[in-house]
């Protein structure tokens, strides 16, 4: 418990919180200073998370504790799992800030936007680094409060309606979570996250109660993870500006829900107890249903962002599916998909944002022949689309591959069917726009690329390309230590209780 | 029924009756002057209970209870004086000195078009 470790965690949190608060009080016309603050904050956070990454890899422990109430402590801790989410969100925050600066050129109320934007990321990193369930729920609800103003940023009546719906869902889920956390705190005391769970010592007659608490926790997190039937706020929230839907609905908010489910099953109940309480089975069915439902809805959606939103609904359930399989391979598939889906989806959202901002394209059918006019963005869109479908060299394939292995390992063959069907559906709703984009004749003659050297504003193009490359890397360099797959194997190796009946074929024995 | 009807028991009963009578008047009557009188009568009822308690038993009366009553009377008169000043101020503003039971007059004068 070295003190400077705790300070590092606080520094990471503060690196986006303090600039955010400063930006709030910046007068609107100070663009230069605001951009400087934004980018420097993102840069510092990246460096700090990097230092933390290396520290955790070397096995050091980082801990920060503060007692809010007797028996209730605010704990920040960094373990391998939290680093996965923290690295993902800090990288993507840097990129999205750049993108947002470009996207919001000349629009009003940017100080307010970037203020809340930084608060959101602080909350997301807080969620990643929280050391026990109560801290997790605290950051979880702060995330709600920070995202609401971004969803209603445009101020149009439907934005406000979407905001109201979003708030209704998330505040209710917050209440359910709080009640469950308090009950858990009363039963087992305020325990930090411990891989393999800290509820094993409880007597058996409490299992009924634990089941209810487990279901409540899952339901609470399911709202943000957009599982059926609690998903309807996500498509409505697409009314927000592109950077918001990109970072928040591809990375921060949705992943927070999925991360919550992972933490609950893995670090609170422990997969073994979760399986006994049949929580994993409930989650399995729910995830499977959501995958299929999400893909079907995506197929029917005509607006690009709606399609991407429903695709997110189904993709996030992969993570839930992976964890619910309770086998190490399945968990690897689920966790690695957390990163892959994040990178691929953000590429797609950036491309959608580019199309909308430069050519005013909102519908799928308007994308005919856009490849001629904006070849680079279309290329990024293709990489993203194929990644989603899961073609071999790309990231999507790896996560689906491990999910398939996990399904076999857990003797749940029907999951293989679900995975195959969803890949087909993915192809069904991603291939037509890609093909139309490249091959089809554009109906309307588009003005040639105006005088600037690139096809759209450089601050929109470069982040898109950068993220497209990032979406490629995990697929190609899967074997590396620091690649998402390598890191997930490190997580599983460090933390997982081996569920009897399935043994790791690559021989990395796992001790709790 | 009450074994001895000495003032120590009789007057507290009278005080309780006065308190109830005053409460009845406070609730029933709408005019502010009458409500202020009712509050004063309730106050006298409480002081009668206090002094009745002070005079209990055949020992000399308890000076603490009597001192409290004196303080109470002075507090009552200052509260009444302020209440009367407020009533006059209210009458000067609204033209009448009656508190209508309606809870929210503020709706009345708020902008007509935001019903």
């Amino acid at each position: 418990m070295n003190a400077d470790g705790g300070l590092l965690l606080i520094a990471i949190l503060a690196s986006s919180l303090v600039p955010g608060l400063l930006i709030f009080f910046l007068p609107e016309e100070r663009h230069g200073l605001r951009t400087l603050l934004n980018l420097s904050a993102a840069g510092i956070k990246l460096v700090l998370v990097g230092v933390l990454l290396l520290g955790v890899q070397r096995g050091e422990t980082f801990e920060f504790g503060l007692t809010l109430l007797p028996g209730v402590d605010f704990v920040l801790a960094a373990d391998a799992l939290s680093l996965l989410f923290a690295t993902l969100s800090s990288i993507l925050w840097f990129v999205t800030t750049l993108y947002a600066i470009g996207y919001l050129e000349g629009s009003p109320r940017r100080s307010r936007f970037f203020g809340f934007f930084s608060l959101c990321v602080s909350a997301t990193v807080g969620i990643a680094l929280s050391g026990n369930l109560i801290t997790f729920v605290i950051f979880y609800e702060i995330l709600t409060l920070a995202t609401w103003p971004l969803v209603v940023h445009r101020g149009t009546p439907e934005a406000l309606r979407a905001g109201r719906l979003y708030l209704a869902y998330t505040v209710t889920s917050g209440l359910v979570l709080l009640a469950a956390v308090i009950a858990l705190n009363l039963l087992a005391g305020s325990q930090p996250f411990a891989s393999g769970g800290y509820l094993l010592h409880l007597p058996d007659e409490l299992h009924g109660l634990l089941q209810i608490i487990g279901l409540a926790l899952i339901a609470g997190f399911a709202v943000k993870a957009a599982l059926i039937p609690l998903h309807s706020w996500l498509p409505q929230a697409m009314v927000a500006p592109a950077p918001v839907s990109a970072l928040l609905h591809a990375v921060a908010v949705v992943k927070a829900g999925a991360f919550g489910i992972v933490r609950t099953l893995n670090d609170v109940f422990g997969l073994e107890l979760a399986a006994d309480l049949r929580l994993t089975d409930v989650l399995l069915v729910l995830a499977a249903l959501t995958i299929v439902y999400g893909s079907i809805q995506a197929l029917r959606a005509q607006d690009i962002k709606q399609r991407l939103a429903f695709s997110t609904v189904s993709q996030v359930s992969y993570i839930a599916l992976g964890v619910a399989m309770a086998g190490p391979l399945g968990v690897i598939g689920g966790l690695v998909h957390l990163v892959h889906q994040g990178l691929t989806k953000i590429t797609l959202f950036f491309c959608a944002g580019n199309f909308a901002e430069t050519l005013g394209i909102h519908e799928i059918r308007e994308m005919r022949g856009v490849g001629r006019r904006m070849p680079l963005t279309m290329a990024a869109f293709t990489v993203g689309g194929l990644g989603m479908i899961g073609l071999p060299p790309l990231a999507g394939f790896i996560s689906k591959w491990y999910l398939g292995l996990g399904a076999l390992e857990g003797e749940a063959a029907w999951i293989l069917g679900i995975l195959a069907m969803s890949s087909l559906l993915n192809a069904a709703y991603f291939l037509p726009p890609i093909i139309a984009g490249w091959m089809a004749e554009p109906e309307v003659t588009r003005p040639p690329a105006h005088k600037t050297r690139f096809e759209s504003h450089w601050m929109l193009l470069f982040p898109t390309l950068f993220v497209a490359v990032l979406a490629l890397l995990p697929g190609l360099l899967a074997g590396l230590e620091l690649s998402p797959l390598g890191w997930v194997e490190l997580i599983v190796e460090r933390g997982y209780v081996l569920v009897p009946g399935g043994d790791m074929d690559n021989g990395t024995g796992v001790s709790p | 029924m009450i074994e001895s009807l000495d003032p120590g028991t009789l007057y507290p009963f009278g005080g309780a009756a006065l308190f109830a009578l005053g409460l009845h008047g406070l609730i029933r009557r709408r005019h502010l002057i009458l409500r202020i009188l009712a509050v004063n009568i309730m106050g006298s009822g409480v002081f009668m209970v206090f002094l009745g308690i002070a005079a209990r038993g055949n020992a000399p009366p308890d000076p603490v209870a009597q001192a409290l009553t004196l303080t109470g009377i002075v507090v009552a008169v200052s509260a009444t004086a302020f209440a009367l000043a407020l009533t006059v101020h209210l009458a000067r503003l609204t033209g009448y000195a009656v508190l209508l039971p309606g809870p929210l007059q503020t709706h009345r004068d708020s902008h007509p078009d935001d019903r």
Binding site: G155, L160 | F19, V49, L99
Partner: protein
Amino acid sequence: MSTASPDTLIFATGALAAVSLGLPLLASAWPWQARRIGLLGLPLAILGLLAAVGLFLDAAPGMDAPAVRVGLGGWEAPLGVTLHLDGLALAMLLLNALVALAGSLYARGYIHTAAGERQFWPLWLWLWGGLNLLVLSGDAFNLFITLEIASLSAVALVALTGDTDAVTGAMRYLLINLLGSLSFLLGAALLYGEFGVLDLQLLGELADDGPTVRMAAALMLGGLLMKAAVFPLHVWLATAHASAPAPVSGMLSGMVVAAMFYLILRLWLLIFAPLGTPALAVLLGLLGSAALVWGSLQALRAPRLKIVAAYSTVAQMGYITLAFPILILHPAAWPVVVFFAFAHGLAKAAVLMAAGTVQKAAGHDRMNALGPVLRARGRTVFALGLGGISLMGLPLTGGFLAKYLLLEAGLLAAADTTTIMQVWTALWVVMVALGSLLATAYILRMVAPAFAAGERNPGGHVSAGMEWMPLALAVGAAAMGLAGASLTGLLEHTTVAA
């Protein structure tokens, strides 16, 4: 561990009482300088209070009885009047100091006519002083007088604006206060008749479960519930709080209502706790739930910003009334009342002062026409939002800790009682959850216009104090979220009946 010798604490208590009375007296004697007396005196008094808190925390573990009892005039308990300073009293003194300081700095800009200042500041200091003396006093009759002082100064402050609503609200508030004080006094008289003692702690030791104690409880707690605007008797609150000057309505909703609940808690802990029967628990629970729902619905319908805030006070007081049934089943959870009073005090004062700033800038506070001003004044909306978040009980604010404690106490209470009471307690827990949902609804109603698109017009000039004080209070309410442990530590040293 060097325990500060108790007599420095005794001196500190006496000094606190003397200052709480001295400042208003000075201001009343010299109203031309009342503003300067207030703005210099209050901070000094608060520094003294902080020193006293330090001394108390340092000395408390060393002392046998967890409270400092000072017999004024040198006369001990049964004969003389005793001041009673313990953790609970210090917490309320701190809240009173914070809200009064913020209100004073806010009033600097809000009341700018010389004549207005000469009338406002003496009464304002009397309200602050009266509440301090109320919290310090440990004698039943003395509590009656301090209640009267606090209520009369509050009523005079409400009527200060001089428009029809304010004076009507003030009149209604005065009558309810007089009725409440008289029933409190009658309760004290009954207790004196039975036990011949007026000091609360001695009464606590003597009190049995006889008819007198039950009748006295009904009268005293009934009177205080009337003054705290609990559901069936809350009609006066909306008009009085909405039409009073902003710093006054901040103080009324923030501190005066909380002081009444402090007194109910004090009487409960010392004397009336054994009277808690399940039937009383159900009644209080129903009252609290009705207040929660009815207050929130009214807040959702009210056309003016300050009326929304006033009805939100009625709703939030429903929370505290809900806490009592849970206290009956699980007595150790009493600090939840103080947490709620503290969190609501800071947050509501912030919201009401922010509403006052908006009203001053826009010239009116009709909700459907406030869009432009709200959009232009980011700081005030941030204060409204942050205060609102604490009222909703969302994380890392004082309200969140209070809601956490209440839910925890509710679940604990539900765990070990008879099945019927389990059902009722479950209902209370659900009502608490519903309450925070309804709170989200009406807070959203206050803040949403700021985010809707539309033209921006900052409205009239507003002084710096009126700009920053609501924000400072809101940040205070949020910071309380981190200070939960120290507040619990302070509350540990409180006299609770055997």
